[in-house]
């Protein structure tokens, strides 16, 4: 088990990258603590699989360093890094039995037969395949095969890290939940460093202690699920995390007041007029309907009942905003006014969060 550091890492698939656009991974500096459960979250094509393959040594980065417990591993081959990886689609050795599949990484490393036997039994029990150990892997269902892949990733005790590359893509929804719970349990039991790549925020938020959000080849935020929700560092995080995502409105910022057209919105803190494209962001959970005429005048366009709460979509001067109403509150109709909770409003300049100058919770 190891602490993994990425220093000034960048990667391009082109042999001679020119401008920044040629890089699939722009500059990345990141530390993964020993024994942490991390999720690497981002939309398809944001570079998360590239990053994973660099950590596992399947790709060599164009620039920068990878350190395992302080030792430079940038150019070390996969086998020297002692990591395990589970892929998007089940990779099993079809002609081997389930037992041989699980034992394969251990046998290749010359472990003792008695140890292998016990270890395989233990892992098989954990993934719930102990009754099928003698079956050939071919002919198993996709979930069973993926369980074997997970088991093969887990079977070595001394791995530096276990990497998961969207491992639940092919799994049925109800099995997804079960496997994810198992993973979490395994993490608690063994304390491996785990890095879990996904584009599904639910998966990321439920699995990980810390979530790394990537966007366009960059890490835009590393934080606990709570931090991502309450203090997104980038508009992408605000928009990507949460269902529905954060409302974003172009606004002029002046002190502790945001101006949108002719409307004024009080902020929870004071800001030095930030440069560039400025926006305010507010989670739908913190939008309330009000009778106060100083709120933003909006037109209710749609109401979705999603069970525990209702999502109200409203139109405001050409923008669509969302508000989440708890069950039991009366449904607004027609023209209404909405207000934002001032301390929950974030201010963004050129998509990055601006730190307030004075006081307040934001």
């Amino acid at each position: 088990m190891a602490r993994i550091e990425l220093k000034d890492l960048a990667h391009s698939y082109l042999p001679k990258p020119g401008g920044e656009d040629d890089f699939a991974l722009k500059t990345i500096d990141l530390d993964w603590d020993d024994g942490g459960a991390y999720a690497l979250l981002g939309a398809s094509g944001c570079g998360k699989s590239t990053l994973l393959n660099i950590i596992s040594g399947l790709l060599e980065p164009t620039r920068g360093q990878i350190l395992f417990d302080g030792a430079d591993m940038t150019h070390a081959p996969t086998t020297a890094r002692n990591i395990a990886q589970v892929f998007q689609f089940p990779v099993v050795y079809d002609t081997m039995t389930v037992r041989d599949n699980l034992a394969f990484p251990l046998r290749n490393r010359g472990m003792q037969a008695s140890y292998i036997k016990d270890r395989v039994q233990q892992i098989a029990q954990m993934i719930g395949m102990d009754s099928q150990l003698s079956r050939k892997a071919r002919g198993l269902t996709a979930d069973e095969k993926q369980k074997i892949s997970l088991g093969r990733g887990m079977v070595r005790e001394d791995v530096n890290a276990i990497l998961f590359d969207e491992p639940l893509t092919v799994i049925d929804p109800h099995m997804k939940w079960e496997l994810r719970t198992q993973l979490k349990q395994l993490h608690r039991e063994f304390g491996h460093t785990m890095i879990y790549v996904t584009h599904d925020q639910t998966e990321a938020l439920t699995f990980a202690d810390k979530v790394v959000v990537m966007h366009d080849g960059r890490v835009v935020q590393l934080g606990t699920p709570e931090e991502l929700f309450e203090r997104p560092e980038h508009t992408f995080v605000g928009y990507f995390i949460g269902s529905p995502g954060m409302n974003l409105l172009d606004a002029k910022i002046d002190g502790n007041m945001a101006t949108i057209g002719s409307h004024q919105i009080p902020l929870g803190a004071g800001y030095k007029s930030p440069e560039g494209h400025t926006q305010i962001g507010i989670r739908p959970e913190f939008v309330t309907f009000t009778t106060d005429a100083s709120g933003l005048p909006v037109q209710v366009t749609q109401v979705e009942d999603v069970g525990r709460h209702r999502i109200v979509r409203v139109g405001f001067e050409g923008n669509t905003l969302c508000a989440v109403l708890p069950e039991g509150t009366p449904l607004p109709e027609g023209t209404q006014h909405i207000a934002f909770m001032p301390e929950q409003i974030g201010v963004f300049a050129n998509d990055w969060r601006v730190t307030p100058q004075t006081g307040g919770a934001s």
Binding site: N53, S56, L58, P77, T78, T79, I83, A84, Q85, F87, Q88, F89, V91, Y93, D94, T95, M96, F104, P105, N108, R109, R138, G139, S149, R152
Partner: protein, 292 residues
């Protein structure tokens, strides 16, 4: 795959059926007719029953040809299949060089059989051929038809030259269908090169290799043109394989009865082997579909 039952589909198959019937069934009927009859010309036939079969089975001639045929077919399979796999594994996986290799490999496959014979005949000549001359320089006096073993070496070398690429192409296509993740997983599991071949590549190659073996076995079993051009079946009857013997018998000596009996037995052997391969192939297909 679920396919709807529809017997009108027969109409779509009908043209093929008629055409192949015309070029296969009618000729086969003629063969059967000859096999059980004798003639003194003028289309007067009389029934001789299994006489021709008995005669053919009792003569050493067919057994000799069959034995040579089997030795030849198994020898070239034993050379071409491992060599083809090895070359496919060594090939670049993608890029311009992969295309260049593919095209160069495919070249011998598309050369008319008789030209293949001509090429090797000329290439191996001690006076004007590069190979023969070079061998002569290092003291080997090699001549295609000089003795039985030289003739065998030539015919086998020629077939390896001509057909190994088929195995290469099929194996290459099979290897291409293996997702990268398998290689990456094997790397992470610290599998040796041999283990990667044994547990990742070979299982995926099974289907295409079966086709390769089937095609090579069948085609080598029918080989006619190349030995005909290079050795003419000789010296003596050293390289007289089944097809050559049959054509000699039918067109050379016009021994219609024995030739026809010979044909039928020849065809039956092929049919039997085809059927065995086909059954295995269909079962493999089904197994794969069940797994997906």
């Amino acid at each position: 795959m679920d396919k709807p039952q529809n017997n009108r589909a027969w109409f779509m198959v009908l043209p093929v059926l008629l055409l192949v019937a015309f070029s296969a069934i009618i000729p086969l009927m003629t063969v059967v007719n000859y096999a059980f009859n004798d003639t003194f010309g003028n289309n007067a036939f009389f029934w001789v029953g299994v006489e021709w079969f008995k005669e053919t089975l009792e003569s050493d001639r067919m057994w000799g040809a069959l034995q040579r045929q089997l030795i030849f077919s198994f020898t070239i399979l034993a050379i071409e299949v491992p060599l083809g796999i090895a070359v496919a594994l060594a090939m670049p996986k993608k890029g311009v060089w992969a295309s260049v290799c593919l095209v160069l490999f495919a070249l011998p496959l598309l050369i008319p059989w008789n030209v293949v014979g001509t090429i090797w005949q000329v290439f191996a000549r001690i006076d004007i051929g590069l190979l023969g001359y070079s061998l002569g320089l290092i003291g080997i006096d090699f001549n295609l038809g000089q003795n039985a073993s030289a003739a065998w070496v030539s015919v086998i070398m020629m077939d390896v030259w001509h057909w190994t690429s088929l195995v290469v192409l099929l194996a290459y296509a099979g290897l291409q269908s293996i997702p990268d993740a398998y290689y990456q997983a094997a790397k992470i599991d610290q599998a040796s090169r041999w283990a990667v071949f044994r547990y990742v590549e070979l299982p995926k190659l099974k289907g295409v290799l079966l086709i390769a073996v089937l095609l090579r076995f069948m085609d080598s079993f029918m080989i006619y043109t190349e030995p005909f051009v290079v050795t003419g079946g000789g010296p003596g009857s050293a390289t007289t394989f089944l097809s050559i013997d049959l054509v000699k018998m039918a067109l050379g000596q016009f021994d219609l009865g024995p030739a026809a009996a010979f044909s039928i037995m020849y065809f039956l052997v092929i049919l039997l082997v085809s059927w065995a391969f086909y059954t295995i192939m269909v079962n493999l297909d089904r197994e794969e579909e069940r797994n997906e």
